[in-house]
């Protein structure tokens, strides 16, 4: 069987005609398999959703319990319309998985978003042998080399000591990055209360419920008459909130942003970030190419991100590769 017959792109997402399901569809479909809970991969309104239990929980938290007609937690190998499907940890965020599909000897792994670095808040990526490996390429340029995240957190703590009168606002995405950054700050030895924007609370509670300790947290609300209560404090929030009126409550805020994009100075300046923290939940160039070398699939399909460079690299290695033009995944997603 040809790989294209088992999975191919459609406007809704990656489609499996044999099993009649989509992987991470961007619009409502009858049957969806979902790699992880980020909004551009996990949308509400499907007829039937299969995902890891944690991803299902996260979707429930974000969209309400009735986000799909029916749900099924992925466990072991499942037969979906004659296609053997299994989920394997991707190391991206809590609950994230690669999806392996097999039919008539053809094995395809759709990795979704993944990373290889150590992260106590997500199950470690599992290399799954396959004929076709579908890789992301969010950071698919050789300039992307994520440094040791603990060193990056060190910069935040140094800045706090250097500017004790300023509120340190750290931009993080609500799912995954927020909790990873909290965990890293704790691992760096900082035990004080960390304040959260309201949009992060539910998912942080969920991580704690799943056994990931995040230390003392409190909502970033101002007590009347205590304008300086956030001086020298660390506050986490979604980056969009820093431009909003919400941020006006903090004394002389210092804007940090935890993201792989922060590696590029022009990007940092564009966003008005004063303290870039290069912390990413995606594979960097080295992780991408190491993974391809390790799995050594017959063919590589490259999706969302900088496909061109990764396809070029495969070409130089003599590895068959092509870009898979899927629409609807956010370039900015991190």
């Amino acid at each position: 069987m040809k790989a294209d017959e088992l999975l191919h792109p459609r406007p809704e997402g990656l489609y499996c005609p044999v099993g009649d399901f989509f992987i991470d569809p961007v619009r409502p479909v009858e049957r969806a398999l979902i790699t992880h809970g980020h909004a551009d991969h996990a949308r509400a309104g499907h007829g039937h959703v299969m995902a890891t239990q944690q991803t299902l929980d996260i979707m429930g938290l974000r969209y309400g319990a009735d986000f799909a007609g029916a749900v099924q937690a992925a466990e072991g190998q499942v037969n979906v319309g004659g296609v053997v499907v299994s989920f394997h940890p991707a190391g991206h965020v809590l609950g994230s998985a690669q999806i392996r599909v097999e039919h008539k000897g053809m094995r395809i792994v759709a990795a979704g978003d993944y990373k290889r670095g150590v992260d106590p808040t997500a199950a470690t990526f599992e290399p799954v042998p396959c004929d076709v490996f579908i890789t992301e390429a969010t950071f698919g340029l050789p300039v992307f080399r994520h440094p040791d995240p603990l060193e990056e957190i060190g910069k935040l703590l140094t800045s706090r000591a250097q500017f004790p009168e300023r509120a340190h606002l750290v931009g993080v995405y609500a799912l995954g990055k927020a909790q990873r950054v909290l965990r890293l700050i704790r691992d760096a030895g900082y035990g004080d209360v960390i304040y959260l924007h309201g949009a992060l609370a539910k998912l942080c509670d969920y991580y704690v419920h799943e056994g990931i300790e995040l230390g003392p947290l409190a909502p970033a609300t101002v007590d009347k008459g205590l304008k300086d209560q956030f001086a020298g404090r660390i506050i986490l929030g979604p980056p969009s909130a820093f431009a909003a009126k919400w941020a006006q409550r903090f004394p002389d805020p210092l804007i940090a942003f935890a993201s792989g994009w922060m590696q590029i100075r022009a990007r940092t300046r564009q966003r008005g970030v004063e303290l870039p923290l290069v912390i990413s939940d995606h594979a960097d160039w080295r992780e991408l190419t190491d993974t391809l070398e390790e799995l050594n699939p017959d063919e590589v399909w490259v999706t969302h991100g900088r496909e061109e460079a990764l396809v070029r690299w495969c070409e130089l290695q003599g590895m068959a590769a092509r870009p898979l033009h899927l629409v609807g995944y956010e370039d900015e997603a991190e």
């Binding site: 050789p142 080399r145 909003a244 940092t268 130089l316």
Partner: protein, 524 residues
């Protein structure tokens, strides 16, 4: 090198002046000699190397990475040093002292340069590689002026910045004697250099109410010319022109330097003067912020010094003398200089303040910014003492303009729309932007404008929002500014000098704001 590269990384992204000063002070505190001195020199660009060329670096990359992958990377990053620092294999992780790097870069020949760079790049991580590449190619631009660096030094040693300015031109990297003094381990270094900078005396703005207590006979009055304040000093063959903060700008003004055949130090205004007629500030701008100058520019925009004061006459320091005495000496001194390049600022005769006020209201030339009042008995002291000297500026120009765009600020103002572009009406009934301002309003007013912007956004472009601005709905600013220049870079054809918001006109319908013709009339 690690301390230096992290300092650079922080400095470029820190918008606030005080933030930059703190980062520098901490660097001076934490880093030993002579590294901190070299770091300082690199930042003020007093330390530059030229042996490493971009083409050589491209060549190194061509041996290491596929051309196509390099091109994609460079396109994305947009900066050669940054691209190379990120692409270079290995994480090095070594920390080499900055003084050793400086030594290597100073001694290396063009032939050895590639091998030396490879070795250093191999030993470093990405951030240090970036700093090294910027240093070696002379491309270190990080938004720290020499003035700011001197303020950080002053703050570090708890001394006046004028003391640093005074010493600066006798010092060389790595400034070990300076740091020893600032740390209280040694005496203040002697100013031994010829033609040092003498910290400038500045005037306070005049509060017109206080004129009542001031006696006209105690004061000399002069025109305040719209050029830049400079100090021209020539001692023992060493000729220098300093800006008012002590930056040496001699190289851009060889036409003046050629005529500095005197022994002494003059305080004056740098102007463009053609056959006795003073050019506008935009003429002068043709000569400013340049390292060198073409013959053509010098002919078109000849530089000229209008002298205000004499600080040094031969071996004699005149600064402790009263102004009246210095003034007499000044007239004699300048009398012997080429009148094509030097003259003495005219004293204005007046009997009472109201007569002077009238002259201020209608000065003889457009390039006059107002008046200076100096006590006849004032000695020349650095800084801005309260009392002896006053500036009495012309009233600013005022127009009513309509808020068109607002941009979010930085640091403290990062969640406020605090930078405003405003416009006036064209004959066709559209608004054309004429300026930008980000101060002049109170914190409370900022909050009100911010709310107005958020409530009346039409479109968003990144951090910028366009705001509703129609004849019968919008926000009118009263904008004050010091002058107007023609500008081909602006759609409106004019550029304002020093614009600020002087009042919010919530009461005024935008349709009644000014028209572009009013601005064109001001151009004369």
């Amino acid at each position: 090198m690690k301390a230096f590269s992290s300092l650079l990384d922080r400095l470029v992204l820190t918008p606030a002046r005080n933030g930059k000063i703190r980062l520098l002070k901490d660097y001076f505190r934490d880093v030993p000699d002579p590294d901190r001195g070299y770091g300082l020199a690199a930042i003020t660009r007093d330390l530059e190397f030229r042996m490493v060329k971009p083409a050589m670096l491209r060549g190194l990359m061509a041996e290491r990475i596929d051309e196509e992958l390099f091109r994609l990377s460079y396109d994305y990053v947009g900066d050669m040093a940054e691209t190379i620092s990120l692409l270079w294999e290995g994480d090095g992780g070594e920390d080499i002292r900055l003084c050793d790097i400086v030594d290597i870069l100073q001694k290396v020949s063009r032939i050895d340069a590639p091998a030396v760079m490879v070795d250093l790049l191999n030993r470093f991580g990405a951030s240090e590689r970036y700093a090294l590449l910027k240093l070696a190619t002379g491309g270190l631009r990080i938004g720290v002026s020499a003035r700011l660096a001197k303020q950080a030094l002053a703050g570090f040693g708890s001394v006046e910045v004028t003391e640093i300015e005074e010493l600066w031109h006798g010092l060389e990297a790595p400034y070990e004697t300076l740091f020893a003094w600032l740390e209280g381990r040694a005496d203040k270094p002697e100013q031994a250099a010829l033609s040092p900078f003498r910290p400038v005396m500045l005037a306070s703005p005049l509060d017109e109410a206080s004129l009542e207590e001031m006696q006209p006979v105690d004061f000399a009055a002069e025109w305040k010319w719209d050029g830049i304040r400079v100090q021209t000093t020539s001692e023992g063959g060493e000729r220098r022109i300093y800006s008012r903060t002590g930056d040496d700008i001699s190289r851009a003004f060889p036409d003046v330097v050629a005529h500095m055949g005197f022994e002494g130090s003059l305080d004056g205004e740098l102007l463009v003067v053609r056959e006795g007629v003073v050019g506008s500030f935009s003429d002068l701008q043709q000569r400013l912020n340049r390292k060198t100058v073409s013959k053509k520019k010098m002919e078109e925009f000849p530089a000229f010094i209008r002298a205000y004061d004499l600080l040094q006459d031969g071996d004699e320091n005149l600064r402790p003398l009263p102004f009246a005495e210095r003034r007499g000496r000044l007239e004699t001194f300048v009398g012997s200089l080429s009148d094509a390049r030097f003259d003495v600022s005219e004293l204005i005769k007046f009997n009472d303040w109201s007569a002077l006020a009238e002259m201020r209201a209608s000065p003889p030339e457009a390039v006059i910014e107002g008046l200076m009042l100096k006590r006849w008995d004032s000695v020349y002291v650095p800084g801005r003492p309260k009392g002896p000297w006053f500036k009495w500026k012309k009233d600013p120009y005022i127009i009513d303009a309509v808020l068109m765009y607002a941009q979010r600020g930085h640091g403290k103002r990062s969640s406020f729309y605090s930078d405003y572009t405003f416009g006036v009406w064209t004959p066709e009934g559209a608004l054309v932007p004429v300026g930008k301002a980000y101060f002049g309003f109170t914190d409370q007013e900022l909050k009100e404008i911010d709310k107005f912007v958020r409530d009346n956004t039409v479109e968003r472009f990144g951090p910028v929002r366009s705001v509703r601005a129609e004849a019968d709905f919008g926000l009118v600013f009263e904008v004050a500014f010091e002058g107007l220049n023609r500008s081909s870079r602006h759609k409106s054809g004019v550029a304002m000098r020093f614009p600020r918001i002087s009042r919010l006109r919530w009461d005024k319908p935008p349709g009644e704001a000014d028209r572009i013709e009013a601005l064109e009339a001001m151009l004369g």
